[in-house]
């Protein structure tokens, strides 16, 4: 019951801070009950992974068009798979500042002899829980509660730091120049962004560990597939690919979009660097290409079974073909019942399966905290 005991400590620590806040006259208003940030209004916002393209991508192969990577032979060098999950909830408010609690989890699994096992790591922790407050917005009550949380045992996280503690406190307004403490909606969205950033840091920390792990270094044929974009990856690591399963908006423009929509199952596009990456630091440039895993499914659009794959910037076309064949070899077993199965591979589905109980296990903790807040009568007679 690893996640259970962590959640219990987490709730206890917050409970201590809440009790002290009450004594000090800091009023924290209970939330409206079940209020999952992941499920509410932010769900309709586009994923950060798929920001709208601003222009034409830089094609690495010419002419742009479909390519046949060849039939897979049932082999693959993908032996490790990394994914992370997150869950966040607003449990209350200090004035107009939301108090958000979050749980993120990440793991790497190793596939050996067709079976999966979790890759044990001493650090970073598999599950991290955090309280997110808009501290930099300048609300005195928030600042005071922040201090109480530190006293209760929460740790702060530095700008580029990988989480090493299981219980963190994060500032959702940290990088905002003129954060408005009355912008409740904006603060909530910032909290969500902060949660996602926390998950990505956790995943990045794990990828770093994987790169330096003795087992990985010894087995130079073993590659890792990361769910999502390749971030936080070192230039020296040439054995990682990113699998972006949701293509909300294609990176192509013009007639290339038609080519993409007509892409046959088992075919890939020519490689490219997305426009939005071109506008970033060259170290953030990756080689991308689309691969259609399955025919478009009934009830889904033509983008439904497309997967964008990222690899290191200078990946050659032959290697792109080979990687495509590895991914195509993952069509069996099917990644069902995940609704994104046509653009997903089973090992990533498996990692999500094992991680989701870890964050879902926090639900009871959140509910308890909400009850505690609702039961505490306000010291000043309000509410």
């Amino acid at each position: 019951m690893l996640s259970g005991s962590i959640s219990k400590d987490f709730a206890q620590k917050i409970g201590v801070a809440l009790a002290n806040a009450r004594r000090k006259g800091i009023h924290i208003t209970a939330g409206a009950g079940s209020c999952d940030l992941e499920a509410q209004q932010f769900a309709n916002l586009p994923s950060e992974e798929e920001q709208p393209p601003a222009g034409r991508p830089h094609h690495l192969e010419t002419p742009p068009g479909p390519r046949d990577p060849g039939a897979h032979d049932g082999t693959s060098r993908l032996c490790y798979f990394l994914d992370g999950v997150q869950s966040a909830r607003e449990i209350g408010r200090i004035e107009m500042s939301p108090v958000v609690v979050a749980t993120v989890a990440a793991a790497i699994i190793n596939r050996c002899e067709r079976r999966f096992s979790r890759m044990p790591m001493e650090s970073p922790p598999v599950v991290v829980q955090a309280v997110i407050l808009p501290r930099s917005a300048g609300e005195p009550g928030v600042e005071a509660f922040w201090e109480l949380l530190i006293e209760a045992g929460f740790s702060e996280l530095g700008p580029d730091e990988v989480p090493s503690s299981e219980h963190l406190i994060l500032d959702s307004a940290e990088y905002m120049a003129d954060a408005d403490p009355s912008d409740y909606v904006g603060m909530r969205e910032r909290s969500r962004v902060r949660v996602r950033a926390l998950r990505e840091r956790l995943e990045g920390g794990m990828l770093r560990q994987w790169e330096g792990d003795d087992r990985t270094l010894e087995d130079t044929d073993a590659w890792i597939a990361v769910d999502g974009q390749l971030k936080e990856i070192r230039e020296s690591n040439r054995r990682a690919i990113g699998l972006i399963k949701s293509v909300a908006r294609p990176e192509f423009v013009g007639k290339d979009v038609g080519m993409l929509l007509d892409l046959e199952p088992g075919m890939r596009t020519t490689s490219f660097v997305p426009d939005w990456q071109l506008r970033r630091n060259p170290s953030d440039h990756r080689t991308s290409w689309y691969l259609r895993m399955w025919p478009p499914q009934q009830g889904a659009d033509a983008l439904g079974s497309l997967m964008r794959i990222e690899a290191q910037r200078d990946t050659e076309p032959d290697q792109i073909d080979e990687i495509s064949r590895w991914v195509l070899a993952e069509r069996a077993p099917l990644a069902k019942p995940d609704p994104r199965w046509p653009a997903m591979i089973y090992p990533i589905h498996y990692v999500e399966k094992i991680l989701k109980p870890l964050v879902q296990g926090s639900e009871r903790t959140y509910a308890r905290l909400e009850r505690q807040l609702a039961e505490d009568p306000p010291a000043n007679g309000r509410n």
């Binding site: 067709r114 079976r115 999966f116 993952e330 077993p333 069902k336 019942p337 089973y346």
Partner: protein, 685 residues
């Protein structure tokens, strides 16, 4: 851990309890998924595990395994593999094995408290032997712990499974708390009889402080005729006999059976006190007015246990007409048994007619009566109220009575002397076998009905001679059928034994192929039931409704030697095994100990081995009988044996045998077996 001694901590957790809205843990069952450890790979139906509730440990037996994956449709898998079954996917879809566990017992952490609380989500362990014994109520037994089966659990040590005897409570098997055993199983697998023998042996060995005996009916070949013979012989002790065992293909007990006996705490030993009873073969009776049972040689009996030297424990069943009359309903056709016919038979009983000679004497008297009346000019048509036509019908039907009784019925009076009788009192640890295998139909039913009825009377009068008597009756669906359509005195007696037998120290071990076709009272009174392999037509019956689907499927294909046991103390039926019989069964008995396997000298030696502690050497016997006709040798031998059977044997039986052998032929004084009886008489003199 609440009860560490109940959990196999060496192997560690083998699974984890899961609860869900759809499948919650209850007081009587829970679910758990299995680990992927080597130990957990052994988990199977019938194994016993333990898991914990808040303050109690639940011990449960495994049922209904199901393997799950998150695949929603078979079609999904088909498409994923492009319809190619040979395609080796890079990843194995995750599957889990989930068992349903049915709770046998729950032990609270405090000795005096009871608990029925469902287990919590948590680790599951193999149950230790201590846990299994507790779960099967052993602590609450009021009587002897009688090993019934052996449970083999999945927790192995050096490749050997954990073995735990499945005990039943002697007070619930043989009374007085409850009683009776019922065994169901397909015919032909010899499981029912083998297990009945095993349980009887187990009872004999366990209940040392009580006198126990058993009665069985041998209905097939030589199945139960050599129960006093060991299943194997040490060549060092008797090389000649060991060779005969080997020639007969009798290889003895395999190692695993020996281990099973050791685990059960039982010795491998035959029934030393075996007595076999059999009727005479049809036509072997010469029609004397008095027949001396002790003088009837075994060769005349309708049994396969008739070799000289092996027949000292074989005794005849000979009936007078008076013994048959109460069972006239079995013998005669129902169409003949009208009230007038029945009335005359009652008349015969009232008149004290005991023998066929008496009967025909009476008929002659009646004939004389009618003849005298006719001579006097009287028109009399009846005698004692019985019409002369009825009497003529009786005479006619009684003519074929000896044929119908198949050698059971003697013409004259039967003198049993001191010879043990089939319906007589029992000795401690006596295994009494009534051999009806060579009979068919009516005589078979007559013997079974009569023997059981008389033993019931013996029990009612408290003259059983033992504290507990076990009666094994196979084919209960024939003798005690379900429903009211057929009633018989045997069925009534069996129902009586089932209902009241335990108070009279009588226990019924019943067996049948079709449990559903046996009388409800007989079945319902059995506190212990065993189930072997059962056919699907039978399994669909309501008698098996309480079993889970998996258990029923198991019963369909249960291997030989494995049974499902339901006992008064068991909350849930438990599967177990039992070893092969510790005695010689079947054809091997006659192959090894039959007359045809021996020459005359060996027969003489066999007899002498039974009669004296210092038998002659075979070479000496061969010299003594050289040139003597075999028939004469055997007559002399039978005479010596007959004398000993009545307790009048000579001090030196071999000397007496040689004396018989050297005497010339003497004229017949009584009947065809005069040589034998002359020897007997001489011994008496």
């Amino acid at each position: 851990m609440l009860h560490p001694n109940y959990l196999d901590m060496d192997l560690g957790p083998i699974g984890r309890v899961v609860t869900s809205e759809e499948n919650p843990a209850t007081a009587h069952e829970f679910y758990f998924w299995t680990a992927e450890t080597e130990a957990a790979q052994n988990l199977d139906i019938g194994h016993i595990v333990a898991a914990e509730a808040e303050d109690a440990t639940a011990i449960a037996v495994l049922d209904d395994p199901q393997r799950y994956s998150d695949l929603q449709s078979f079609l999904d898998d088909f498409y994923a593999y492009d319809g190619d079954p040979a395609l080796e996917a890079l990843s194995e879809r995750v599957e889990i094995l989930v068992f349903k566990a049915r709770v046998l017992a729950t032990k609270h952490r405090h000795e005096k408290k009871k608990s029925k609380r469902p287990v919590r989500t948590g680790p599951v362990f193999f149950a230790t032997s201590a846990a299994i014994e507790y779960a099967l109520g052993a602590e609450e037994f009021s009587g002897h712990h009688i090993p019934m089966l052996l449970h083999e659990n999945g927790n192995e040590k050096d490749g050997t499974p954990q073995r735990t005897p499945l005990y039943v409570d002697g007070d619930y098997l043989l009374g007085p708390e409850a009683g009776h055993l019922n065994i169901t199983g397909m015919s032909g697998l010899s499981t029912k009889t083998s297990h009945a023998l095993f349980t009887i042996a187990s009872t004999f060995q366990t209940m040392k402080d009580k006198k126990v005996a058993a009665l069985m009916f041998n209905v097939k070949g030589a199945d139960l005729l050599f129960l006093d013979k060991p299943v194997e012989v040490d060549p060092a002790n008797d090389p000649e006999l060991a060779e005969r065992y080997e020639k007969a293909g009798q290889k003895g007990l395999p190692r695993e059976d020996r281990e099973m006996y050791a685990s059960l705490g039982l010795d491998i030993q035959p029934f030393e006190n075996l007595r076999i009873f059999a009727p005479m073969r049809y036509g072997m009776e010469a029609g004397e007015r008095v027949i001396h049972a002790e003088g009837v040689p075994t060769r005349k009996l309708n049994t396969l246990r008739n070799a000289r030297g092996e027949d000292s424990n074989v005794f005849p069943i000979i009936w007078e007409l008076g013994d048959v009359l109460p069972y006239a309903g079995y013998v005669f056709e129902p169409s003949d048994m009208d009230d007038k016919f029945r009335g005359f038979i009652e008349e015969l009983r009232d008149q004290g007619i005991r023998t066929q000679a008496d009967f025909y004497g009476l008929l002659d008297e009646i004939e004389d009566y009618f003849e005298a009346a006719r001579e006097d000019g009287k028109n009399i048509s009846s005698w004692n109220g019985h019409n002369h036509m009825t009497i003529a019908k009786v005479r006619n039907r009684f003519k074929i009575l000896p044929t119908k009784c198949g050698g059971l019925l003697a013409h004259g009076k039967v003198e049993h002397g001191d010879l043990p009788r089939v319906e007589g009192p029992f000795e401690n640890n006596e295994m009494r076998v009534v051999d009806i295998s060579q009979l068919t139909g009516i005589p078979q039913d007559l013997i079974v009905t009569s023997v059981i009825s008389k033993i019931w009377e013996l029990a009612e009068s408290g003259r059983l001679g033992v504290d507990k008597l076990i009666i094994f009756v196979d084919e209960l669906n024939k003798y005690a059928p379900a429903g009211n359509s057929r009633t018989s005195s045997l069925k009534d007696t069996l129902v009586d034994i089932s209902a009241r037998g335990r108070h009279l120290n009588l226990t019924l071990f019943g067996a049948q192929q079709f449990r559903s076709k046996v009388d409800d009272e007989v079945i319902g009174n059995a506190a212990t039931s065993l189930y072997g392999r059962i056919g699907d037509e039978e399994l669909t019956n309501s008698s098996y409704r309480s079993f889970s689907g998996t258990t029923r499927e198991e019963l369909l294909q249960l291997e030989k030697g494995r049974l499902l046991c339901r006992h008064a103390h068991y909350a849930v039926p438990v599967f177990g095994t039992f070893p092969r019989p510790m005695v010689l069964m079947g054809k091997q008995g006659t192959d090894i100990f039959g007359e045809h396997r021996q020459d005359a000298a060996t027969s003489v030696l066999s007899v002498m081995r039974n009669l004296t502690g210092k038998p002659p050497r075979i070479t000496a016997i061969r010299e003594d009988i050289e040139g003597v006709p075999e028939e004469k040798i055997f007559e002399a031998l039978d005479a010596v044996q007959a004398a000993h059977r009545t307790g009048h044997g000579a001090a030196d039986p071999y000397k007496n045998f040689r004396w018989n052998l050297t005497r010339g032929n003497r004229p017949s004084r009584r009947r065809e077996s005069s040589q034998i009886l002359s020897g007997l008489d001489r011994m008496r003199d």
